[in-house]
Symmetry: C2
DNA sequence: TACTCATATGTGTAAATACTCATATGTGTG
DNA sequence: CACACATATGAGTATTTACACATATGAGTA
């Protein structure tokens, strides 16, 4: 039940993940994914952000391993790498509501 | 099991929490708390940060509801507001390791 | 009251970061 | 090949943010 301290590397890498999630538009993009993969154009449409800006944030999310790209012709579909990620974020939200 | 979209306010407030956790020294402070309350001086000692800097970050954590201050004489002890917070962070860490 | 110790805060500064514009890359189709 | 569409990237700018220094507040004690 880990009341263990976190080591340097854990702090470093975990804080990076939180920093990525800490930008509202990125969190919006991520949560807009739900569990299905969606092309960038759909994300642009649903978030109302510019294409450039969506690409900018998708890069950050991708490099942090928080989304996974899948090429399909000229399209790139983005997905959550793992449904558990969504569960954890949901749990955070539920906790935060309290 | 919430594949619901997040509304604007949820995105806004939840991303604030993540942003706070996204700063390495803040995450270090928070995880150094474990489950017991500790005075600022102990946090300064264990993190190696300056007193000013610890106070600076504690304020951010406090305002985000991520730590809870308890006055005791001249000392201020800081605690997690809720043990579940630590569990969720731990779960994030475990997920991220994978 | 005067002094010490614990913590907080105001101001300034350097670094990080989100965003936009313009353009590049890459894919399918005529 | 030429063109249209989907996505990515480089450069520049404005805002945000972490940090240090000096100082303030506030509690305990002589």
């Amino acid at each position: 039940m880990s009341i263990n301290a976190y080591d340097k590397n854990e702090i470093k890498s975990l804080s990076k993940v939180f920093k990525i999630l800490g930008e509202p538009n990125r969190l919006k993009i991520l949560t807009s994914l739900g569990l299905e993969c969606r092309p960038v154009s759909a994300i642009v449409a649903s978030t109302g952000l510019t294409q450039t800006n969506v690409s900018f944030h998708l890069r950050a999310l991708r490099e942090a391993g928080l989304v996974k790209p899948e090429k399909n012709g000229a399209f790139v579909f983005y997905c959550l790498p793992d449904p558990e990620l969504r569960e954890i974020i949901d749990r955070f939200r539920d906790w935060h509501k309290t």
